[in-house]
Symmetry: C2
Subunit: 429 residues, 2 copies
């Protein structure tokens, strides 16, 4: 980690840069994949599965039998843990339901909103070395709570055509029955356009590599909604002198092990805490299976000493971290200072991995500084809120004149006439 | 209007097509404007103002004096109407505030969300023949309720450098003081990148022509959030035999007068209502100042008779209209059938223009079928919802094992270690 002292505000932008991907070549490759899937559908999916994932897929849809086998494969201990996490995530996301509330804005004029689940949603779960079944909880649970009618899931299989059993178990646990063996940009294309095997959806959720991210960005321009733009994962820790360097080190490393492009940032007003954290990182790093990944991620990472804790919070808001850990025995004193962050972890016992798996909050969060203008995934992400209004005879008599005057001032006389004609009919009765 | 009978479901997609813009040339033009503003800033804005709006602008920011003059120019009657509308819109949008609710998902594990206004937002208000001051209410009021720290507004001036006084009055009424004389794609570029005169923002809201819409789409790819994708405005009316053909005609025309690319759709299970509505349209059309615009829009528009009212609702959900009017004396019987719509107007006295101006609902709504996957603008659009979690010693003891097991199954051992190290420290005390 690079260590800095009291860096000047004018230079902050240099220290908030995220690792960048080369873009032009990527766009071209992904555009071609999208176009081919749009045109050749399943045939294109088969071709790309063979090319990128080295697997010949006969049937994309996972069978009931495969799911049953998977459910019998994984340990009861893991099942219990997943069920426990599911309960917490369900509890928190259910609390996000908004009750319909009728507001009478003027006598006889009633307005309200109704949340309706987006009819068709698609979840993408990456494959690769780590099977991210936890993301199925994070996306599948709110999709079910929102009453989305069709929920499909795409995830790549291995070269033997097998999907990790924890992924299949978790999918059936949250009630997703349409699971397809397909990954990468081609999976996003399939969900956007539909193929013979895979139905198209209105909104696509889920993390992925740069190809997946780019594909989501491109299909968004064609009218498919996506959860949010994405970039590499990151954590920022603000530690005061009541924090614990061993704990901080473990949190920074749990972010660093995600990928070589992960970024971790430590801010503190205590040089002592910084020094001890750096020592603890080196000790803890040595025993990690993914230490080579974590080491590279740490090279992209910074540690900044600010004399004044105020500057730590100001810098953090400027950085807008996906995960923000307030490492302090008294974290509540700092809450009001936080303006930009995806998810916040308060106090020394609240590790990021709790939120990654089981505390109840969602782990699909805005990265790359997008916490300035985007929220993480929540129940809101799976619904549309339709507004309703109902105006009685009395209501239009009370509000009609206001509408007529405004419509006339905007030179929209037919708008005015829609009111006048109603007012006249009431008068004439 | 084209009139059809009982069209077959297989052919519905033909009847839900929206007017399309030519795209490639448009993208190229707008990309160039964006690039030039990014590079030359104010100088580019001046150049484009002269080129497109035929106006030489010395200073983009509207002065306090200009605002004062505008406020003295418009009639008290119009002021009162705007204030009345503001009160309703404020009441409804204030009701959308979500109280912070702490959920204890497991003993010792507390989760909640906090809504924080997006720090910097930019509102775009088009110029042209009709001064859309009502849109300032629709965007400015929720921006203020959300406590956005910096709210700026861009709108083009006329060739004398003057902005319509109703726009300036409404802006100051909702507390927007930073108003800039700039329109078109160049205004969107200015808000996205910032110039010497105009600050950059994190999210851009507001309607506009195809250049503005394209510019918003393109800056979104660079990380600037936008309210929603956009297309031409539209209304769909479902009329049963308890509806009033004169009223329906006035509503269809109030949509048709918006622009030549507007679309209006009438669905009914009553041939009588359809026939009488068509007659009423022709009569009402003749006296409209914007009848030439409305006539062209009506050519893009359809009227469909379905024997079964169920089909009307099914077709409407398939079309996903921006505005949906339920023209019926008993509209509540139909509410549960509605799944895709931007805003719904219930009953014979609830004209669309009520929602356009003053009922309290927002008129910035998803067009072009986007009501399938997007909500209209609301207070939500101006906030980020940050999740918080706080875990006590007891909490991590209760939940720790679940996290450890899941992290291990995802092969993320540093994630597991962040828990183990805390559990161990508690044991050792």
């Amino acid at each position: 980690m690079k260590v800095y002292n009291n860096i000047n505000k004018k230079e902050w932008s240099k220290y908030t840069e995220r690792p960048q991907f080369e873009n032009k070549q990527l766009t071209k490759i992904v555009r071609n994949i999208l176009a081919e899937v749009k045109k050749d559908q399943d045939a294109a999916l088969k071709k790309f599965s063979l090319q990128f994932d080295k697997v010949e897929v006969d049937s994309f849809e996972v069978s009931k039998k495969e799911i049953d086998i998977a459910c019998n494969t994984i340990s009861q201990e893991l099942k219990n843990a997943i069920i426990n996490a599911k309960n917490n995530i369900e509890k928190f996301h259910a609390s996000q339901e908004q009750k319909q509330q009728i507001v009478e804005t003027t006598k006889g004029v009633k307005c309200w909103r109704k949340s309706i689940g987006i009819e068709k949603v698609g979840l993408y779960i990456p494959g690769g070395t780590a099977p991210l079944f936890s993301t199925i909880l994070m996306l599948g649970i709110p999709a079910q709570l929102a009453n989305c009618k069709e929920i499909i899931l795409c995830t790549p299989c291995n070269s033997e055509g097998i999907i990790n059993p924890a992924i299949l178990f978790t999918a059936q646990l949250v009630g997703i029955s349409k699971i397809y063996k397909i990954g990468g940009a081609q999976a996003i294309a399939a969900m956007a356009y539909g193929t013979e095997s895979i139905p198209s959806v209105y909104k696509i959720f889920g993390p992925g590599n740069q190809y997946v991210t780019k594909a989501k960005e491109l299909v968004q321009q064609e009218g498919i909604a996506i959860d949010m733009p994405a970039g590499p994962s990151e954590v920022l820790v603000i530690a005061d002198d009541s924090s614990d360097p061993e704990f901080i080190a473990s949190d920074l490393l749990s972010q660093a092990e995600h990928g070589v492009d992960s970024q971790v940032v430590l801010l503190s007003n205590s040089k002592n805490i910084i020094d001890n954290t750096l020592i603890a990182i080196n000790q803890q790093l040595e025993v990690l299976p993914r230490k080579e990944i974590a080491k590279i991620a740490l090279q992209n990472s910074t540690c900044i000493y600010f004399e004044d804790i105020e500057n730590c919070y100001e810098f953090s808001n400027y950085y807008a971290p996906e995960h923000l850990i307030i490492a302090s025995q008294k974290p509540h004193q700092y809450i009001h200072k936080i303006t930009n962050a995806g998810s916040v972890f308060l106090g020394n016992y609240t590790c990021e991995s709790a939120g990654d798996y089981a505390s109840g909050t969602n782990h699909t969060l805005p990265t790359n500084g997008f916490a300035k203008n985007y929220s993480g995934v929540s129940l809101d992400s799976f619904v549309k809120k339709i507004t309703f209004q109902e105006i009685s005879k009395e209501g239009i008599q009370n509000l009609g004149n206001t509408i007529e005057i405004m419509a006339e001032a905007e030179q929209l006389i037919a708008h005015k006439n829609a009111v006048s004609i109603r007012l006249k009919s009431i008068k004439n009765v």
